[in-house]
């Protein structure tokens, strides 16, 4: 019986029609395409996007720079006396991140001892494409702090 059924299946091309049925059914299913510039995909809360730095919280311990597997965080600081509190304080001279080579592993954020973190990657930014690597993907202290969402390029920006 099963042999007959198998033979009939073979003759009737049921296997092929089953496949055709699946593709036909999928024609009417919901499409998953995200129409990118108009619709944007919203990253998860923990998304490791672009860096942000909070200079006030930073205690200049340079653990993030040491924890970075590819050494792209460059920190210089000096000590100076705060005129208000007359206490010695560490002041950042330089906090640069060379995002060109960054692999967004998040170890810098994980190593940061302050609570909440002074450097973190959860900026939900993924539009980091740029026309010039050095000017756009080498971010310094000010840029790290004032980082807003880097807007997707518009027609005006290209021209």
């Amino acid at each position: 019986m099963s042999a007959v059924k198998r033979f009939l299946d073979k003759i009737m091309l049921l296997d092929l029609f089953a496949g055709l049925g699946i593709t036909a059914k999928n024609m009417f299913k919901k499409k998953v395409t995200v129409q990118y510039p108009e619709e944007r995909w919203e990253p998860a809360h923990r998304f490791r996007g672009m860096f942000r730095l909070d200079e006030d919280r930073c205690i200049k311990c340079t653990i993030c720079a040491r924890d970075c597997p590819i050494d792209i965080i460059y920190i210089d600081w000096h000590q100076e006396v705060n005129p208000e509190t007359t206490k010695k304080e560490k002041v950042l001279d330089r906090f640069d991140i060379d995002v060109q080579r960054c692999m967004f592993c998040g170890l810098c954020e994980e190593g940061c001892p302050t609570e909440p973190k002074s450097i973190w990657l959860t900026t939900k930014t993924y539009e980091l494409a740029s026309y010039d690597r050095w000017s756009n993907l080498y971010v310094d202290m000010d840029e790290l702090q004032e980082w807003k969402v880097r807007p997707a390029y518009t027609d005006q920006e290209i021209s």
């Binding site: 092929l16 496949g19 055709l20 699946i22 593709t23 036909a24 999928n26 024609m27 299913k29 919901k30 499409k31 998953v32 395409t33 129409q35």
Partner: protein, 360 residues
């Protein structure tokens, strides 16, 4: 539907005289109209339709950026292909390399000259076909065969091993599938008793007649499968087989020459669909014979187009669903299944016709 009976045409006929009008002016006008208003837009939009349909089958939306719903996409594609650099490999055999795309496109277009898109005209008007040859079926087979030479020559002249393999595969495919295709066409031929495509369509209408797909379901099946193979479409797209042979015979082609191959492939699809419609699905005839006279209100050419579209859709559907055969399996299928089945069908049809309708 009545053929275009326009007063202007009548006056032209009177000016030119019957001979010049029917054998000179009228075919030229039809060719021009068919080519530039019919086939070429159809092909370009077939590409779009294919991408759209495949997209919808594959959980995405297909091209939708150029114009609303992407309807200007084909124009952008054509522009791109026209302005792209047309590379000519240094070690290619130049004349053959240039000739090959023409050999693919030309015959595919020529076949349209014998396909009846609509009924024969009443006297004094243009018919819905360019010409009605009484050996049209042979003509179709002969022309379809030439197209394959383009692939072989293109594959060979590129001086690329992958191209050569693609060319050889298409040669093997042609040899394996021309035969069952030809044999399958003999079935309707026997039923109609004529090689003229117009006569074959007419033989499917009238009381007690039916579309040849019903008595000739086997022949139709063989013809269509062989046709898919002939036009190098999935699951028989071995000569291109992008995952195996990079791009097969047109690996080295670019720009407009590549576009010609592309054009040829889609023209072939339309040809196969049109011939299948003509031979098996009653050409321009409305479905259900005379049972529903209301269907006859729709003009014949529209019925023809609808049927062709159904075939084209199934082409695309196959592409969206099936894996690819291996070339020896493809030839197995051709020689071990299709040809015996086609021969069997032939004998059966002949015997039935001889025994039951000896005078038909």
């Amino acid at each position: 539907m009545a053929a275009p009976e326009i007063a202007a045409l009548e006056s032209i006929r009177q000016t030119l005289g019957d001979t010049l009008f029917y054998y000179g002016f009228s075919p030229l006008v039809k060719i021009a109209v068919l080519l530039f208003l019919g086939i070429l837009p159809l092909i370009t939009y077939l590409v779009l339709a294919e991408r759209k349909i495949l997209g919808y089958m594959q959980a995405r939306v297909g091209p939708n950026r150029v114009g609303p719903w992407g309807i200007l996409q084909p124009i952008a594609d054509v522009m791109k292909l026209l302005v792209k650099e047309d590379t000519l490999p240094k070690q290619a055999v130049k004349w053959a390399f240039i000739l090959a795309p023409c050999l693919v496109v030309g015959p595919a277009f020529i076949i349209f000259s014998v396909i009846p898109f609509g009924p024969v005209a009443k006297p004094g008007a243009m018919s819905w076909f360019i010409t009605d040859v009484n050996t049209a079926l042979l003509f179709v087979i002969a022309m379809a065969t030439i197209g394959v030479y383009g692939l072989i020559i293109g594959g060979w002249s590129s001086n690329n091993k992958f191209s050569l393999m693609g060319g050889l595969r298409s040669a093997a495919q042609m040899i394996s599938y021309e035969v069952p295709q030809g044999l399958a066409l003999v079935g309707p031929l026997m039923l109609a008793g004529s090689m003229s495509l117009v006569k074959i369509v007419e033989a499917q209408s009238g009381p007690g007649k039916m579309w040849f797909v019903f008595p000739q379901i086997l022949a139709f099946f063989i013809y269509f499968v062989a046709g898919v193979a002939e036009s190098n479409r999935n699951p028989f797209d071995l000569p291109e087989a992008e995952s195996e042979l990079v791009a097969g015979f047109h690996t080295e082609y670019s720009g407009m020459r590549f576009a010609l191959f592309f054009l040829g492939e889609y023209a072939n699809m339309i040809v196969i669909s049109a011939v299948a419609t003509t031979l098996f699905f009653g050409g321009w005839l409305p479905p259900f014979g005379d049972t529903f006279p209301v269907l006859a209100v729709v003009p014949g050419p529209i019925w023809f187009a609808l049927k062709v579209f159904v075939f084209l859709f199934s082409y695309i559907w196959f592409r969206g669903t099936f894996p690819r055969y291996r070339f020896d399996q493809l030839m197995d299928l051709g020689w071990k299944w299709m040809i015996p089945l086609a021969l069997f069908n032939l004998v059966l049809t002949g015997a039935i016709k001889l025994i039951f309708f000896p005078h038909n």
